[in-house]
Symmetry: C2
Subunit: 491 residues, 2 copies
Amino acid sequence: MEKMTVTFQLSLATIHHQFYSHSMIIVCVCVYVCLCLLPGGFISTVCCLILKLVSFQNVGAINFFCNYEESRGNYLVDVDGNRMLDVYTQISSIPIGYNHPALLKLMANPNNLSTFVNRPALGILPPENFPDKLTESLLSVAPSGMTRVQTMACGSCSNENAYKAMFIWYRNKERGHNIPSDEDISTCMINQAPGCPDLSILSFMGGFHGRTMGCLATTHSKAIHKLDVPSFDWPIAPFPRLQYPLEEFTRENAQEEARCLEEVEDLIVKWRQKGKPVAGIVIEPIQAEGGDNHASPNFFRSLRNIARKHGCAFHVDEVQTGGGCTGKFWAHEHWGTDDPADIVSFSKKLLTGGYYHKDELQADKAYRIFNTWMGDPSKNLFLAEVLNVIRRENLLEEVTRSGKALLNGLYELQAQYPGILSRARGQGTFCAIDICDDATRNSILLKARDKGVLLGGCGDRSIRFRPALVFKEYHVHLFLNIFNDVLAQHK
Amino acid sequence: MEKMTVTFQLSLATIHHQFYSHSMIIVCVCVYVCLCLLPGGFISTVCCLILKLVSFQNVGAINFFCNYEESRGNYLVDVDGNRMLDVYTQISSIPIGYNHPALLKLMANPNNLSTFVNRPALGILPPENFPDKLTESLLSVAPSGMTRVQTMACGSCSNENAYKAMFIWYRNKERGHNIPSDEDISTCMINQAPGCPDLSILSFMGGFHGRTMGCLATTHSKAIHKLDVPSFDWPIAPFPRLQYPLEEFTRENAQEEARCLEEVEDLIVKWRQKGKPVAGIVIEPIQAEGGDNHASPNFFRSLRNIARKHGCAFHVDEVQTGGGCTGKFWAHEHWGTDDPADIVSFSKKLLTGGYYHKDELQADKAYRIFNTWMGDPSKNLFLAEVLNVIRRENLLEEVTRSGKALLNGLYELQAQYPGILSRARGQGTFCAIDICDDATRNSILLKARDKGVLLGGCGDRSIRFRPALVFKEYHVHLFLNIFNDVLAQHK
């Protein structure tokens, strides 16, 4: 790194929790003014910016400030001009790298201006090109068996509304598709059953599905996400804890998966007896925030069958796995089934949130799944172009190639540094590796950044790799060399 | 209307609920193809588009498709070229009209390109100009007593996260700001108390705060919003049912407000005894979706005091009232107090969602209020420019002037058509009037549209007026004339 910004910034981040009271904010502003008056060069722009922001926001999670204008492809540039190979891509949400020429060109087209300037209420007054743009973008990559899609503004809203769709579907089934009773109508207004029924969603320990209150009841990744927020008494199943590489432990892993599937069935029965039947099961194809936990195609196919057997909807959350990073457009395509799910939600690399669903999961009336914006057509515009680039540049093949090189490189490093690394795993470039402990993990993340590589953590002590789809074999080797240097320092 | 689109489109909307099965979709596509092959002119573009969309989305709420390129200022143009005076503005979310030159100019500035093309994870890697853009935009209109702001992608996410901030604040108080216990940490992972505590938010009958599951537990506007979705057992207070014009019924209205305030205190006590203490109270300054229900400044000041007395946070939801439409930037400014709230949430006319909060409502740790995008800097860019326009063109004064003309006009029409109209009410241009019954209301909305005025309903039988801030007295008179014509047909 050209300037000694990171350490100072991190220490600020750790003390920022003190900055609550007005007096502390005044102290903070004074420090900021003093620092900015010092001769330039010593105190970095990053420090000045963080001291500005701390007066009106929590900055505890800020890594640094970026110069997005100067960032290109796989390289993120910070405000001090440091250029980093980005293997984290804004928590896995930049599909084809920074400032891709195709997206810049789209912005230069005057025909697109109006889409950015006039954001419509899509549910009531969509623009003329809305059906075509959906067809070009989201519908052109619809999961198998799904012809319907609903856009939403972010990942959490997508899952919240997918859950609602499952509840509505389940209750309509229970009612025999008759109109709701007067009691349904009157009780729902005051949050009581039967109008607001005691239904549940079954989720998995280690899962992450967002942070709004419905989603949060199915999120079980870290305590900090959930602490102090009221929740629902919904069933939580164990997610298989597999041994890696998967192909070397097939027998042990199959046993572990069978144990989890059995527990799922038990929970469904138990919650039905409790009077809180499971309307839907939600799962990630690879648990991401929870520590990059994989399961076999057979596990997911069996789970899908269990859902069908017990009359629960099956919701696959592809917010982090979707968009090509596993080498297929959707991670569930690796399961080898034509009927992977009833609902598939997405966001991040898709640039818009939303969910696909089967015909029967369509709410039976307008205004049941609804809000003011229901997405943003300007994001559909970008997505259509991103998909063009993915096809034109065969990026899924690139991901498969780069992913193989990355995973092989991780295996080699793991053999070389057995005291530090373990459990290398991945699909496409969606890879991860465990570090011996949390402190070493964090030290490695910082040292890598000092050497020009931006990485992210997940779970208790994993590093996750989330490059853009334009991350080539060349970038893999660049990364592996630097990672090797960092590890050598820790040996 | 130039073409006979609306009636046909509406009939389609009513039958669309049948279009669930694959076979019905095939029928629908066949109808679409046949219609499109007919000689042009008879079947409108709108019909063709809706038949396209019905194959992959619920279209029951679609009014028509728009040509946003050709829309200007207060005038929305549909795909058939019909030009309508827009008094609804995308459910109150277009602040300064369609295609405002200032926003088009902003798009033409190449320095802004990168902000649109590279959406950052704002919570970890904000752009260099992020603190300055927040200062120029949201912080320049911060409510009294609030110096901190958190952006979010939409109104529901804003309220969800505001609720979380209140829960976190409340539990930290309860813990004496000590670190959470091991039991807190372990129980929260499985959705159980004390980690996921039995806290509640007090809301009001008729209120609307969004449709994700936390928000929805505080929404009590229409059954269709809530039916079949599990909810929380949270207290719901009556919202004053006042008589209009407010100044003619001060004594009766004060009594009604006192009754509601008493009930609020009773509920707070009752829910504390139930073991589900009220962490926060949420209310709209004018209940919008619920039927444009007003209350007096004294009511809100008293409620704010009740919240303080009982140790509850006070959350004012300005998603629909914020942004200038009441003649002040925030509707709560009409209350005449320096300390209106602990949290104020916004979205719609602010173009980005989010909430302001007092210092003490700041979450004590990073990653407690967090998600991937945490808003969208491109929306802050637009908002800064919108605020410039509001100041430069004195739009709040314009709104006050137009609002007076509008309300006076509604009073006159109400006197003229006492069998149809009643309860004209409003603040700024945020006005409404009741129609004798639901069927007449809907017929009036359709007839107004046929005559080139786009209006929206709210509550059981109200019409709400939600023009942009550029709606001048000239437009008021234009609207009143047409409205008069429509009413004359119903007399």
